[in-house]
């Protein structure tokens, strides 16, 4: 029966070429727009560390003045002072913990007659690599002793190793950064979580690129006065260069908590710390927060507004396209009232008529989906040539490929419902009489 419906549908689609083209084109445009924007949206709201994100938490306390504070409503600032961060790190209450700030450094070339260049880097503590599961190609991270001693050691990214040493094992070699010598202790495999969750609100890029080029101990960076990218001070500053003591926030603190009990314990620990600081008069607010990685991404609204607006727009557009298809399908099926009348008179049931029209709608949907896929590829090609920082990431993956056809089929079947229902409601007698 299905084969017969297919045959009927194809005949009917071929008979009204213009109408069919309009339907397919309109559906395809709507689907193309939707798939393009959904791909970008999904990409930007994705999980940067799927294996580990549920165990990673971002700690926040609030050293700001009492002024403007509403208990329970004012969220703590996104970064921490050195004093608070060091306390949390040295308490070792989590399985792993690291403080993070962004930096950039001038790297001297290895060969003569090349120019020096700037690279993005991370100032952090020893646990960083284990905490975020950054994979090593050669060597390893530095030790807690390096953190304490401010050793001039460095971990470099795969692409920087490629650029400086042609990809060879460079552990033990020296690179010159900001006119200081650093000993390479580790080389990472290509590692670039998207979004760069640990850099949010520290003044770096959120998406795109190959990731940070170098990682060095926090204390070393401070000793060498490599300022962080972003500093926010909550009190008058006498010496902004003395970041260890200045009333300024510039560090993000991440902790690894393997289970619910550990999370609850850490929350209590953080709250106690804030209350204790209030009692000592250092804090005036006892607000704290401990968000998991995905919660932190949501809190930071990491997906740009423009992308969400575009997605909304695309869905509105798809709705218009589906309405359009409903109209055209309806027009087509009403024009065929006589044919339906004949089929009904010859014994076709209402269900058979309904099925026949749904098959026709489904074919329009599938062809629309196929063409829509083309439009989506075109749209993503356009997005890759946009100036946005996530541009290079916009690619169609397998799940979106499948999703395209699901959307196309669902949209076309919904569009086909009303016309098919009208078609099967056609009474055979008057149609036959008229001819």
């Amino acid at each position: 029966m299905f084969g017969y419906y297919m045959d009927l549908a194809l005949r009917s689609l071929k008979r009204h070429k213009v109408l069919t083209t309009l339907m397919v084109l309109s559906l395809a445009l709507g689907i193309g727009a939707c798939i393009t924007t959904t791909t970008v949206l999904r990409l930007l709201s994705g999980d940067p560390l799927p294996q580990k994100s549920s165990q990673l938490f971002y700690a926040q306390v609030d050293p700001n003045a009492k002024e403007g504070y509403i208990a329970g409503q004012t969220e703590p600032p996104s970064t921490m002072t050195y004093v608070d961060a060091m306390f949390l790190l040295h308490a070792h209450r989590a399985k792993r913990q690291a403080a993070v700030a962004l930096t950039s450094g001038k790297i001297a070339p290895q060969r003569a007659n090349e120019r020096p260049f700037y690279s993005d880097g991370v100032q952090t503590t020893a646990d960083f690599f284990g905490l975020f599961g950054a994979p090593f190609e050669y060597g390893s991270g530095w030790t807690a002793a390096d953190d304490e001693g401010g050793s001039q050691v460095i971990v470099i990214a795969s692409f920087l190793n490629q650029k400086l040493f042609g990809g060879a094992n460079s552990v033990g070699k020296t690179i010159r950064m900001n006119d200081h010598d650093f000993r390479i202790v580790g080389v990472l495999k290509p590692w670039s979580p998207q979004p760069r969750f640990y850099a949010l609100d520290l003044g770096g890029h959120d998406y795109g690129g190959d990731g940070d080029a170098m990682f060095l101990p926090l204390k070393t960076a401070m000793d060498l006065k490599m300022g962080p990218q972003d500093i926010e001070c909550y009190d008058s500053v006498t010496d902004v260069n003395n970041l260890a003591a200045a009333p300024c926030m510039w560090l993000g603190v991440w902790v690894e908590l393997p289970d619910q009990a550990a999370v609850a314990d850490y929350r209590t620990f953080l709250a106690n710390y804030a209350r204790q600081q209030v009692a000592q008069g250092r804090f005036s607010r006892d607000e704290t927060a401990l968000l998991d990685l995905m919660g932190w991404l949501r809190d930071q609204q990491v997906v740009p507004d423009d992308v969400r607006l575009q997605a909304g727009l695309a869905y509105g557009f798809l709705l218009i396209c589906v309405l359009n298809t409903v109209g055209l399908l309806l027009a087509k099926c009403l024009r065929r009232s006589r044919e339906i009348g004949v089929r009904r008179a010859l014994g076709a049931t209402r269900g058979a008529i309904f099925g026949q029209f749904m098959v026709e709608a489904g074919i329009v949907g599938l062809v629309g989906g196929l063409l829509g896929l083309g439009f989506a590829e075109l749209g993503l090609f356009g997005i890759r040539h946009q100036p946005a920082e996530y541009a290079s990431l916009a690619h169609l993956d397998l799940s979106m490929f499948v999703f395209t056809f699901v959307v196309a089929l669902v949209a076309s079947l919904i569009a086909g419902l009303l016309p098919a229902w009208r078609a099967c409601a056609v009474a055979p007698a008057p149609q036959l009489k008229a001819s």
Binding site: K106, F317, N324
Partner: protein, 401 residues
Amino acid sequence: MEIRPILASLRKHRIPAMLIVLEIALACAVLCNAVFMIGQRLDDIGWPNAIDEQGISVVSVNGADPKLAASDIPRDLAALRGIAGVTAAAAATSMPLDRNPALSSFTTTPDGKTTVNTSIYFLGSGGEQALGLRLLEGRFFNADEYADSGFKDFNSTGHVMLVTQRDAQRLWPGQDALGKTLYTNGNSWTVVGVIADVLAQDPNFSGPGGRYSSVFFPLHPDGVMGDYVLRSAPQDRARVLREARRALGRLEVGAVVDGATYAGMRGDYFADARSMVWMLLLVCVVMLAVTAFGIVGLTSFWVGQRRRQIGIRRAVGATRSHILQYFQTENFLLGTAGVVLGMVLAFGINLYLMQSYEIARMPWYYLPVSAVAMWVLGQLSVLAPALRASNVPPVVATRSV
């Protein structure tokens, strides 16, 4: 034109009529909001900036030895001024729209509680001319007013500053800003001049209040000054920039030298906004096309269905223009219903967007303008099928089908 028969016939085709109304309504709602967003982006892209945007090129030098800045910067500037076509050159800490916000908070009284966050710029000697700042009141810096390097951390007092007009109004509403004093950390500075509004380093970061909030301080050559501002005639820009990069590359061997025309920097800053405008425009055009084709399709179907009735009307005396008017009026009625629904919907979408995004209230006139656009679109798309209808010969009525 009698509309009762049209209404009667629409009642018989309720579902297709409703589809057209809905489609027009949705298109109208989306169009309103998209056009409003396009307008806002274009507003942003066109923010005025009272510096010589067309004549400036900026060469940045990063990673030079700060201890040598006092001698290196004058040497570099001498080389830059020697380039043919350069009319002024100066060192500066940052540039408007360079996306590196440097903000500091000031108060208008020594013990002031309410602070104002302002973009800060330090200029080397000749910086006013190199940027092309426009003086509105007071004067520029005197040669003896350039401060030593302690100043950049605001640890030195008694110096002078320029403020933008917008900042002057924000800090001292209704008063003359000249001679007034600003404070931070117990240090103070005197305003000697008010200049036309210059954009902040990152206006999107500074927010609407801080967009034109900028203050300028005079500073001796110092390691924090990473930008050389060059001014030339716009047609010399590209060559001047090329030669300046080459010259600085030779002089500053250990540093990273980069450069751009100011027009290019401005273009970069608004690149995202511009691409959003193109995307919105594209969606609007495609959406209107789809809507138009939908109307053409359904009306053509109606015309086909009513050939006999049209023939009868023609046979009993209706002229071609009567038939044409019939379909146009019918489309006008559907369009009106769609537009009314669409305006309500557009207003609702705008309210939702205001809550969820940083989007302003849509001015009311966007609604009637979009409404008229949808009407025109409807009339244009109905024209072809309506003309076809008006060409149906009366003889059709006499033929039995």
